[in-house]
Subunit: 364 residues, 2 copies
């Protein structure tokens, strides 16, 4: 069914890394890059940052140092990132994805732990969106009870989404699942307040119609409406929602997980007897902790741009940043950009059919 299922994986993957982004900058990004290079023999990295910060990486193999004189701070306004800091490590890293006149780009994917608003704005300005995509979206991976990850988008980039935006999210998100999990036709759920098609806001009802039409045309595997609990159940591979709703769902989950963790700690340290129980239960509790460790799935993908940009969580430590690098590597290797591009082109029923420019990095 999918025209992209025959795409061959990339043999080498070039990852442009914004080494200055995030709460910890090079002290986290450099060790993560080094570990990532060691475990991924087909990877190359372009380390972007100030010359002094990158000095420890001089001489690493499969590694190019790309100087940038400025740093976007975590609390810089979008305007500052966009207009004043034109030589920021974030922007230079993203610019590595731009194809030259012959269609060649320096990197296949870019990763930053920098501030989300700035990253979205800079990526959109530098790379532009595909024809048919109004606004890029952020997709995240949330662990589910089936032992996998449910992909959810949008997570905060777009408020006041239209039904057409939600359809675009479904199209792009399907490509993401295909690239990360190898599923040709991932199931898509529309986040709603009930499973019945008649429920929800006018926007949601109309999005349901568009999704059913796209499914009838063989362009999507639309499961139907899903509810908030289905995200963690893993009912569908993908859940699409308005960025406002998605952000609230994500943050609420983080809050609940934090509270439950705190409560478990409190209960196990209440009495001498419970402290003893904690000692015995420690290996089990640690395995549980590792499974729900948010560092394993922090960050996400920016979809809809003419270049692959991955966001790591601002508070990432080296372990979390390395996971983001791996995810970006997998996505680029499995040609997520081409998959998104092909899927958008193949959804003519609802999306614009105007001839599209070639994708930034892998144009023919």
């Amino acid at each position: 069914m999918s025209p992209t299922s025959s795409l061959q994986p990339l043999e080498r993957v070039r990852v442009a890394v914004d080494c200055m982004g995030g709460d910890h900058g090079p002290s986290v990004t450099l060790p993560a890059c080094r570990a990532f290079l060691a475990s991924h023999p087909n990877a190359e990295v372009l380390l972007v940052g100030t010359e002094e910060s990158l000095r420890p990486a001089a001489g690493w193999s499969r590694c190019t140092l790309v100087p940038a004189s400025e740093v976007i701070e975590m609390d810089d306004a979008v305007e500052v990132a966009l207009r004043r800091k034109r030589d920021s490590s974030m922007r230079v890293a993203i610019a590595q994805l731009k194809a030259d006149d012959e269609g060649h780009a320096a990197a296949d994917v870019s990763v930053s732990a920098g501030n989300t608003g700035a990253l979205m704005a800079v990526a959109r300005y530098v790379l532009k969106t595909f024809a048919g995509i109004d606004r890029p979206a952020i997709a995240a991976l949330l662990p589910n009870a089936r032992g996998g990850f449910t992909k959810v988008l949008d997570l905060g980039a777009n408020v006041d989404c239209t039904a057409e935006h939600l359809l675009q999210f479904a199209v792009m998100g399907s490509a993401l699942v295909s690239a990360l999990d190898g599923k040709d036709e991932p199931s898509v759920g529309l986040l709603n307040i009930g499973e019945e098609a008649i429920k929800g806001s006018e926007t949601i009802k109309r999005a349901g119609e568009l999704l059913r039409a796209a499914a009838a045309a063989g362009q999507l595997n639309f499961h139907g409406n899903v509810e908030g609990n289905d995200i963690f159940k893993g009912t569908t591979d993908l859940v699409v929602c308005d960025g406002f709703v998605g952000n609230v769902a994500l943050k609420t989950s983080e809050g609940l997980a934090g509270m439950l963790t705190q409560m478990i700690k409190q209960e196990f340290s209440r009495t001498p007897m419970s402290k003893l129980a904690a000692l015995v239960a420690l290996p089990v509790l640690n395995r549980f902790k590792a499974r729900v460790d948010h560092r394993r799935y922090s960050g996400g993908a920016l979809l809809g741009l003419r270049g692959l940009v991955f966001k790591a969580h601002g508070s990432s430590d080296a372990f979390a940043f390395e996971r983001a690098l791996e995810r970006a590597y997998d996505a680029a290797r499995n040609r997520l950009l081409d998959r998104v591009h092909d899927r958008i082109r193949d959804t003519p029923a609802v999306l614009p059919t105007a001839p599209d420019e070639p994708a930034a990095a892998h144009a023919a």
Copy 2:
């Protein structure tokens, strides 16, 4: 600051119970009522249901049997509940709240575990909303890390809310916190995707303006924007949101809690050693389980109606239904209806100022 802080608690509280509602009907509601009566000497109950179902309760003290010939099923459409089953236990229970010509009602509060859509429709039809309130809202109590409960509304009754609706939720929710926790000026958070006032959808920004104006006029204690994680942190006493967003946040939390519980079970039953650890840790894990037991806070209050209606979770067992009865009792005893009414009347800056009819149950 609050004009209602001088309200005296009711000396006796009459609770009308829809005994047929919920997944289990009288087999759950009757034992719950009996236990509730035993622990609340100032309570009276009006048990509403078919004559045969209520037979076990014949002769209970402080208890009146009120016959109703029909039962609204959990999957009955709203139209069926409203138009065809006019003598349903749900409707008859709610009708006990209606004041007669002299301003006297048979009950102070009504509780049902019946289907939410039907309950909302029937309650609205029988009781009507206060002037200034367009649509009733559902408020729920979610446990927070401070050991208390954050009140959240709306949870699924209203999609496509306007800024004015969100202000109404804040006004009514403040009255709920006052009645349940005895706080005169509970703090109110507006659920958003960032703390800054400039974030969010147009509706949210406008709601922020209305809430700030109401706070400046001394009618509310507006904390500002809060994010999803603040619900479980307990940052504010009350969180207001669109019913769509609230429902997704609630269901997502339920899904996450379910997944984490399942993971803990899996980890503790993985090996003989971890099963042994489970035995040792059992008392601690059980205490944890009791703290997060959703039966302690299932259900919620329907606010904005000219009568107090509480909703218990459809799947309530006797323990959960008794908690709902207690909450309804506390709210009625602390005159939630008058508090809501007074607060609505005292928010003339934004809400209509037309003279209001007296509240259903406690009119002078």
